[in-house]
Amino acid sequence: MINLSLLTPEIIVLITALIVLILDLLPWRGRKVLLATVGVLGTVGALLITMGQWDLREEAFYGMVAIDNFSVYFKALFLIICTLTILLSINYITRGGIDLGEYYSLVLLATFGYMFMASGTDLITIFLALEILSLAVYILAGFMRHSPKSNESAFKYFLLGAFSSAFLLYGIANIYGVVGNTNLKDIAQYLSQEAALKNPLFLAGMGLLLVGFGFKVAIVPFHMWTPDVYEGSPTTVTAFMAVGTKAASFAAFLRVFFYTLEPLKGQWVPVLWLLAAVTIIFGNTVAIYQKNIKRMLAYSAIAHAGYILVAMVAGNDLGSSSILYYLLVYSLMNLGAFGVVIIVEKKEEENLTISDYRGLAYKHPMLSAAMSLFLLSLAGIPPTGGFVGKFYIFSAAVSGGYVGLAIIGVLGSAIALYYYLRIIVYMYMYDPEKEFLDGPVPFFSAAALVITAIGTILLGITPARILELAHYSISYLGH
């Protein structure tokens, strides 16, 4: 069945993107805020409809797209990310001189791609979704056309991204050749035969898929692009791709590996074990030496992908639901931390090194308090959401029998504490030397910070309900 009506949220996002594109051509004054308003209205509308799809468990387009709780959970997450990104961007892109209507349109199109990453149940859908989001984000990364750094980051991201998606595609082609279909259900059925598990062509295809997804979620050794691209892109775009692209890629990664390739667990779990350990150690160690705060957050994002891999390796009930929980917390706290960076950043890339945060607390106590909250959450200190997420992940690893990996994870978090606390020390222990902002904190950015801060604290204090939701989402995967 086609069931077009099930895709209403996606269609709303797409139409909003097109409307924004057309509205931008009209010669109205003050239209930029109007464009952002249209964008937010569209995403919030799509969010409400998505929430209404909970427990629907339907398929659309002859099994190419699934509307199950897993996809609803992720789609809601992406729409929240999109709304917060637009709120954070309104002031920033005016200041940065990149106040073009295409910006919002591309953010919405990337969100459209994210949504299909979570709901695609056919390798064709997943590939197309990956390309839609990648193309939009490549352009966004180079959006500051006159900044050599922004151009360079878009260039690097594009070349390495296209390279990795070619590998993903070759993996898909091999799997198609073995199974005779690209639908995840048919692949799962094929794998239920004993002999299928040893097919070398299939295993090669699976390895190539792992490379493709590993690149998008930025795990070592496929992380080389991350620091450069995160540093060079406009900061709002960095925030958007650090949370959105990562969460979307993990959504497809989980669906393919947890549900479809589950019978091959014996093959991919050891590989992921190694990648998780290397990612956590490498990301956290290199982050210590960074002077630029965006670069530091990039390495922290790499390390966080490692923590999520730990939960994937554990693979038990708690592990799988903690991935969804952690991705939600990660999105909120990372958007919050980047939000503060966005507010403090000035034109010409001023205020971007860690020592620039010297004495921020004496000029802007609320901003520093929010930043401290997000950093403590990233480090995993109670009572924040980050602590609960890490706690669930590591206890899942221990109960799954991966004590060694859990120890590596805890050690990594201990290293991470150093570089997160360093910023807090700079903010509180030094005297301010300059004015940070040209005016008051912009209203929309402040609103986004308040939302993320409340979310981070709530997830830390009452995690049970969201964890239950996450559990329901993933346990119905493929049913």
Binding site: F127, L128, H146, N151, K156, L159, A173, N174, Y176, N181
Partner: protein
């Protein structure tokens, strides 16, 4: 009749030529061409499997890949032009403002 392994080998060879091109070439445009070559290697594989399996999915997928490759080429060219205007070079060795 030409056996399927010939087509698969051809596809694999083209894919490998493309990936070697990406890794060794210095000119951004040639790297872009190499990526297109990789995608076309995949296309040959897909169509060969499609014929072998008597299943149309592979050929439809190949058409999608062609369309995606066009989009990628357009975005890639646009990024390279923007970079060239900014830096007056397309040599990847000279593009190294961002370093760890």
């Amino acid at each position: 009749m030409i056996p399927i392994s010939h087509y698969l080998t051809l596809g694999a060879i083209i894919f490998i030529i493309g990936s070697i091109g990406v890794l060794t070439r210095k000119n951004a445009i040639i790297i872009l061409m190499s990526i297109e070559l990789m995608l076309n290697g995949v296309n040959i594989t897909l169509v060969a499997f499609s014929y072998h399996l008597a299943d149309l999915t592979g050929q439809i997928f190949a058409i999608f890949v062609v369309a995606v490759a066009a989009g990628e080429a357009a975005v890639g060219l646009a990024i390279i032009i923007a970079l060239f205007r900014c830096r007056a070079t397309v040599n990847v060795d000279e593009i190294q403002l961002l370093k760890w």
